[in-house]
Amino acid sequence: MDENLEFLGEVFDFRIVLVQRSKTNWKRGKVTTLNNLKPGQSARIIDVDLEGVELQRLMDMGFIENTIVKMIRNAPLLDPLDIEVRGYKAAIRRSEAQHIEVEMI
């Protein structure tokens, strides 16, 4: 229960900022995984559902809880994805993006 409240608090905090930034584009945060984002869509990372080296590698590259990511484009053959994260651009395969749980913003 505590955790849920904490979680909601974080979400709430975050949304206030967002509303201030872009009043028109506000949407209720749908929870999905990173591979489902369409080009131009942004989302906030909720969790990375991996372990060991895979988790560490993604975290080192900045894919961490509460980070805002933006889907830029698909590769010409639709995979991998070009994602903007923490001010730089990263290529990530769909199979990995599938493990990154995000909330649409």
Binding site: M61, I64, I72, L77, P80, R86, I92, R93, E96
Partner: protein
């Protein structure tokens, strides 16, 4: 080393794509040395410089995003910091991408060595409207900060001054920022630190807090170290850590590792918040604009194709033209060697040592040096692709295709280096796989490297293609590339399904901002890689060529046959005297020693004349020189005329007789050499293999050439040249000679041998490289054998199919 107060070690850390190498070059200039870190194949660049009477040794650490134990590069970097205890660690960061870079900076700072920050690419950051306040950044981080623009060499003095200040303890910023890992973790870390102090007890010199963090991250290497230090299994520190992590996960629903990474990024964000001011949001950077074209669904692949094609064109055309232009100069290296040995007193046979040095050693070296201009062009183009940032886009576009075959987008560069498009070298190709994080894809990439069109195969392709497909050279060469590429992909697919086990690592690759490559940077890399190639091949090729020379010329044809040749030559000499006519005073020169001298004079004259062909003045003065050296000889070799134009009948007759003799002698020499080779050791081996290899249409001569290539493919054409004993003097090239001697060859013979060579096993140097990079003899031996089996079977199938159906 630490005792010497005037000698300091500077460690250079940083993430990839931050321009770390430009900082390294800025500090050390050209005084660099490349080696490997002890025991591993990670490249270690060292350089030196002096300042204020002190000497600084700069060690360039591999570019890494983090300092975990998951990759070799990261382990090497942190081991260096722990063991060598450099006097200062400089972390270079990309000012336009500070957040992710600070993530590494904090990890370096946690290792508790004196630190400094190099804020590189300040110009890029400024253009993007990012205003960084270095003073505030210094205060936030607690370490000195220097602004640089590495590729323009700006900030060098300030950087050196900062290094000096830090190693001298003059920097007042001696309190580095410590990341606060929060109330969830800090108490645990505190307990662990105390525990670690008790366990190591001075036996393992490591910062306690750092070790505590690593243990909570479940760092395997640190776990191993502590397992060794702490023998008590159940009550020991490791089981304590395990329990703590387990408890932590239960209460907080997250692993400590996640919190640690998240806090590091939090700290980075805080530092940026305090010291960076984004003036105006640049909505679309230049990189974004380029990417929207270069990575466009339709335009992207087309541009890629265009880039690869121009790559092919430039290397093939420009490179080959440069090589052809340069080669005549190289060939002159042969002359001093020939002069050194002088003329052979035996007109029929070369001096044995002379023959070994000239045909074995010098020919071998020259055949390698021929490639150097091509290599320079190839490596320069690759460096441009890498430095500009386009190479990662290639990986991005290609990943989906390559992944289907068990490879990786990052396999593209190694494969290009190995020669997927036009010729490269498997050695840098195998080396370039080091950048790949995906171990399985990396091993497969290494294994298919032998199937690429390494530069050494190209001369052979050109030879055969020139003989049989002269009209469509370009098309056929292109088809060979396509054929090898498709074969390599299928082989990769088979390997990944049936042979190479293991999980694929995640594919997360930075798409760095585009940069204009600098001339200096490109040149440096080009020369480094070319030099590596030369160093690798020269020694091997020398050994091989001498060996081949021996196997091709020995055991000889026996005294009886030699005597027959002597008799035939003496007959020709008598004929020459007769042709010159009775009482011709020039006939006196057709005897013994003077004939040898005359022949040498004649050769030298012809060579000099052809070199100065077209230049009338030079030719005239040259003739004067020769006339002065020996007037009678000159009259003969000049066709009976002196430099004034006066004609001498006897000399003219002698000249004609000599010409006939020279032709006959050449024929005799060729016949003898052919007989020599036919009865050589090499021929014995080649002939014994013929029953099998004839299935693919290969005669023993090809067999010999192929066997010799096991050591270095570079020698393939050279060996064939020896076997077919080509006389280069009269512009006879190998293609013409082979064609005249192998008149029974069909197009199918040509295709068959092209297939075999295209799929040929790697040379010795590549095998050594495969062994070191895959860390297993098994894979090296496998890489040596499967291509020849595959190549021969395919060649035999195509050949049998071809000759029976058409």
């Amino acid at each position: 080393m630490k005792q010497q107060t005037d000698f300091y070690t500077v460690g250079l850390a940083g993430q990839p794509n931050v321009g770390k190498s430009t900082i390294f070059n800025m500090l050390t200039g050209s005084r660099q040395h490349i080696a490997n870190f002890p025991g591993v194949t990670v490249e270690k660049k060292e350089g030196r410089y002096g300042l204020n009477g002190k000497r600084f040794q700069v060690v360039d650490l591999p570019g890494t995003y983090s300092l975990t134990s998951y990759s070799l590069e990261e382990r090497v970097s942190r081991d260096f910091i722990l063991r060598e205890k450099p006097d200062i660690i400089l972390t270079t960061v990309d000012a336009s991408n500070l957040e992710r870079n600070l993530y590494l900076v904090f990890q370096v700072m946690e290792m508790e060595r004196p630190s400094g920050l190099v804020l590189n690419m300040m110009d890029v950051a400024r253009n993007r409207g990012i205003r960084i306040d270095p003073d505030k950044l210094e205060k936030e981080l607690g370490i000195p900060v220097v602004e640089t623009i590495g590729n323009k060499g700006r900030g060098s003095q300030e950087l050196k001054q900062m290094i000096d200040d830090v190693v001298e303890g003059r920097s007042d910023l001696n309190r580095t920022r410590r990341i606060d890992y929060g109330e969830m973790l800090e108490p645990i870390l505190e307990t662990l630190e105390a525990e670690i102090g008790a366990v190591t007890n001075g036996r393992y010199d490591v910062p306690a807090r750092w070790a505590a963090i690593k243990l909570l991250e479940k760092d395997e290497e640190i776990q191993k170290r502590f397992a060794k230090l702490d023998s008590s299994k159940d009550s020991g520190i490791l089981s304590y850590v395990d329990k703590t992590i387990e408890n932590f996960r239960r209460t907080h629903k997250k692993s400590p590792a996640k919190i640690i990474a998240s806090k590091r990024y939090q700290a980075a964000a805080d530092v940026i918040e305090a010291s960076v001011n984004k003036e105006q949001e640049v909505s679309r950077t230049l990189t974004d604009k380029i990417d929207s074209l270069v990575l466009h669904r339709v335009a992207g692949p087309l541009i890629l194709l265009g880039v690869l094609f121009s790559f092919y064109e430039l290397t093939m055309n420009l490179g080959t033209r440069l090589a052809d232009w340069f080669f005549p100069f190289l060939s002159r290296l042969k002359e001093p060697v020939d002069m050194l040995f002088g003329a052979s007193p035996d007109l029929l046979r070369d001096n044995l040592l002379h023959s070994m040095v000239s045909q074995g050693v010098v020919t071998g070296v020259l055949s390698i040096l021929y490639y150097v201009p091509i290599f320079l062009v190839l490596f320069a183009l690759i460096a441009i692709l890498e430095d500009s940032g386009y190479m990662t886009r290639v990986a991005f576009i290609m990943d989906r295709v390559l992944r289907g075959f068990g490879l990786h987008g990052q396999s593209t560069l190694p494969l290009i280096l190995g020669g997927v498009i036009v010729g490269g070298c498997a050695v840098p190709g195998v080396m370039a796989t080091r950048a790949m994080k995906d171990e399985k894809a990396r091993l497969i990439t290494i294994l298919i490297m032998p199937l690429m069109n390494c530069l050494a195969k190209i001369p052979f392709y050109i030879l055969i293609v020139g003989m049989f497909f002269a009209a469509n050279q370009g098309l056929i060469l292109f088809s060979i590339s396509i054929f090898t590429f498709i074969t390599a992909l299928l082989v990769a697919k088979a390997f990944s399904r049936y042979l190479v086990k293991g999980e694929s690592a995640p594919f997360v690759m930075e798409l760095p901002a585009y940069h204009l490559p600098t001339v200096g940077g490109v040149l440096r890399r080009t020369i480094e890689r070319t030099w590596l190639f030369i160093k690798k091949v020269i020694t091997i090729i020398l050994a091989v060529m001498v060996l081949v020379w021996f196997f091709v010329l020995f055991p000889g044809i026996g005294f009886e046959r030699e005597a027959v040749y002597d008799t035939m030559m003496n007959t020709e000499i008598r004929n020459m005297v007769q042709t010159a006519g009775q009482g011709n005073r020039f006939s006196a020169y057709f005897e013994n020693d003077s004939l040898v001298r005359l022949m040498e004079f004649s050769d030298r004259f012809k060579r000099s004349r052809s070199r100065n062909a077209g230049d009338k003045e030079a030719l005239a003065s040259l003739k004067k020189d020769f006339e002065a050296e020996n007037r009678d000889f000159f009259l003969i070799v000049n066709g009976g005329k002196d430099t004034e134009g006066a004609k001498y009948g006897d000399a003219k007759k002698a000249a004609n007789a000599l010409k006939v003799f020279q032709k006959k002698l050449k024929k005799l020499k060729r016949e003898r050499k052919k007989e020599l080779i036919d009865s050589s050791y090499a021929a014995m081996v080649g002939k014994s293999l013929e029953p099998v290899t004839l299935w693919a249409g290969f005669n023993w001569k090809i067999n010999v050439a192929v066997i010799s290539t096991f050591a270095a493919k570079e020698s393939l054409v050279g060996t064939l040249g020896m076997i077919y004993s080509v006389d280069n003097e009269e512009g006879n090239n190998l293609g013409k000679t082979m064609k005249s001697m192998e008149s029974g060859w069909t197009v199918w013979h040509a295709i068959s041998i092209l297939i075999l060579v295209a799929l040929f096993p790697p040379c010795l140097a590549t095998l050594i490289m495969i062994k070191t990079e895959s860390n297993s003899y098994k894979w090296a031996i496998f890489a040596a054998t499967y291509p020849i089996v595959l190549g021969f079977i395919l060649a035999a199938i195509v050949f049998q199919f071809g000759i029976h159906l058409f």
